[in-house]
């Protein structure tokens, strides 16, 4: 997020939220319960220590860190040409966007332009990846909220069924279904296969039909509405204070999207319609993701109408690990991922210019999880699962 964009939002000073149990009723029979680290609703390995009064949560303390793999330290050792396949494993539901933001930081360090065809391909890959990631977010959230027949688990299967269409598209392009390694410094590695746009249109049509169908199971379903409306309300001020971004922030009424406000790739030529909500609850966050799916489909269809020709990479193909060298300097590049602002802060100059001196990845999920101690208290234990699902955290990028 650029400073100017953020300052325009006029963030309030950080409030001192006191989460002390001393002020609580001394006669209450409090119980400590660990939700996770292997609970399925935590979407990975994430532990929340809950202090319960009966079924009502009094205090919640999140403990991330169970999936720490030392990615940032590893990136200091590898050279620039070797790093793209490593960051695929950070946010494992949107590897394309991880690759893009890393390589955009390197391109900023080198000061090179990316050819228009590569920027077009990156835009369409980012939108497809956002669609695939939101489908998982919707499906897992509805499963967390519960219900078997007529909701919940069956809808989870439907979203995964439609996500497979997008994974098939990525397989046709890159050869990988999950870890692609299709971006490199200066452009892309794989060009569009023949007839790819026909498959994209078919997948978009199918997903659009499914989104209409799922409305019956969720937003038009009274059981789902009762479980989600008014649950886990995140106020606008708190979202600003904690650095929440993406759909979580927009559901709280902050109209900010880096695709529109700080355009990259080809987004400056596209008219991105940014949806915002005012509720800030689980229901609004769900609706916002569904609306963003439709917006992504609209953008993909616009992009497919005009396919630019030309080269795919502005640097010669890398024939060794030391092909890219970046001189000393600092760069921060951020893009709008499915979960919010994902950024790369690069300090170049390690290993004789062949590796970063330090590379910090700004994960949106970590800042989404920072809201957990504020959102959970006051709700019941079953609502805690719904709130965690609506935040859609990916522990791979939280712990890195």
């Amino acid at each position: 997020m650029t400073h100017a964009v953020f300052d325009a939002l006029n963030p309030p000073p950080v409030a001192d939220v006191h989460l002390d149990l001393e002020s609580y009723d001394a006669d209450a029979d409090l119980m400590v319960l660990n939700l996770g680290p292997q609970h399925p609703s935590t979407h990975g390995v994430f532990r929340v220590k809950l202090v319960l009064d009966g079924e009502v949560i009094v205090k919640a303390v999140p403990y991330p860190g169970y999936l720490h793999r030392g990615v940032e330290k590893l990136l200091e050792k590898l050279t620039y040409a070797q790093q793209t396949p490593i960051v695929d494993k950070n946010d494992y539901l949107s590897p394309m966007i991880n690759e893009q933001v890393l390589n955009m930081a390197f391109e900023a360090g080198l000061g090179i332009e990316v050819p228009r065809r590569a920027r077009w391909l990156r835009t369409i890959l980012a939108e497809l990846q956002r669609l695939a990631s939101h489908l998982v977010a919707i499906g897992t959230f509805v499963m967390d909220v519960g219900g078997s027949i007529g909701g919940g688990a069956s809808m989870f299967m439907y979203t995964f069924r439609d996500r497979e269409l997008i994974l098939d598209l990525f397989e046709d392009l890159t050869g990988g279904r999950f870890h692609y390694n299709t971006h490199q410094v200066g452009g892309n590695r794989h060009d569009v296969p023949v007839g790819w746009d026909v498959s994209i249109r078919a997948a978009c049509d199918q997903i659009e039909r499914s989104l209409d169908e799922w409305d019956v199971m969720t937003v038009k379903n009274g059981v789902f509405r009762d479980r989600t409306i008014g649950v886990g309300v995140l106020s606008r001020d708190l979202a600003l204070q904690l650095g929440a971004s993406g759909p979580i922030m927009r559901a709280s009424g902050i109209d900010l999207d880096l695709r529109r406000d700080a355009p990259y790739h080809l987004y400056d030529e596209l008219d991105v319609q940014v949806a915002t909500g005012t509720g800030g609850d689980c229901f609004t966050r769900y609706r916002l993701r569904a609306v963003e799916c439709r917006e992504s489909i609209r953008l993909i269809r616009i992009l497919l109408e005009d396919v630019p020709e030309g080269p795919l990479c502005s640097l010669k193909p890398s024939k060794g690990p030391t092909a890219v060298k970046i001189k000393d300097g600092q760069w921060y590049v951020a893009v709008e991922g499915p979960r919010g602002e994902i950024g790369t802060y690069l300090i170049a100059g390690g290993n004789k210019g062949m590796s970063p001196y330090r590379l910090k990845i700004r994960p949106p999920s970590l800042h989404a999880l920072a809201t957990v101690p504020y959102l959970l208290p006051g709700h019941t234990l079953s609502d805690a699962v719904a709130i965690l699902g609506s935040l859609d955290p990916i522990m791979g990028e939280v712990d890195r």
Binding site: A81, P85, N181, D197, Q273, V291, E309, C313, K316
Partner: protein, 192 residues
Amino acid sequence: MGHYFQAMKSVGTTLKNALRKPTTSLYPEVIRPRGERYRVAFALTHDEHGEENCIACKLCSLICPSEIITVTPGEKRDSPVTGKKRGYLEDFTLDMNACIYCELCVQVCPTDAIVMTRQPEKPAFAREDLVMTMDKLYANEKSKPLSWSNGTRLCDVQDPARPVTTLQAKAEASVPEPAPTAQPAPPTAEVP
């Protein structure tokens, strides 16, 4: 009462989907066709004269992020085909236990010697069985379908001076209809 009606509509959607054609296939009987760029295992190749392509330049072992490729170069000797002096492999191992399938070794290979295959390795009971020796990799060239990508093709695609007519996306595309623009509604429109 409204809840019951809405829940029954949800159940109706489930039943509608239950009657649809399944998208899954029973795996051992039906094997889904793989894309031509699908990459799951490795092979070392020969050229059209039956000579080994690998010249033991060690570029693949240098670029590998997991450092799983070990190249032992042999003596340089005259090639029986071209008569020129070139390098040969003494030994080559690739540890599939730690491979992340990034395809970088394929891209850097100057002689298209290492390529990936579309058919995976068989699961093994011991870790040693997943360490691909040179013999296994040369056997894979004959026994497994090779993936689209090799060093030359990838570098052609990534060439900054590439002619603009290659690999057009719209070669087989039908004429696109104007896409219906879905206007995003305010997300809280239906909240009572």
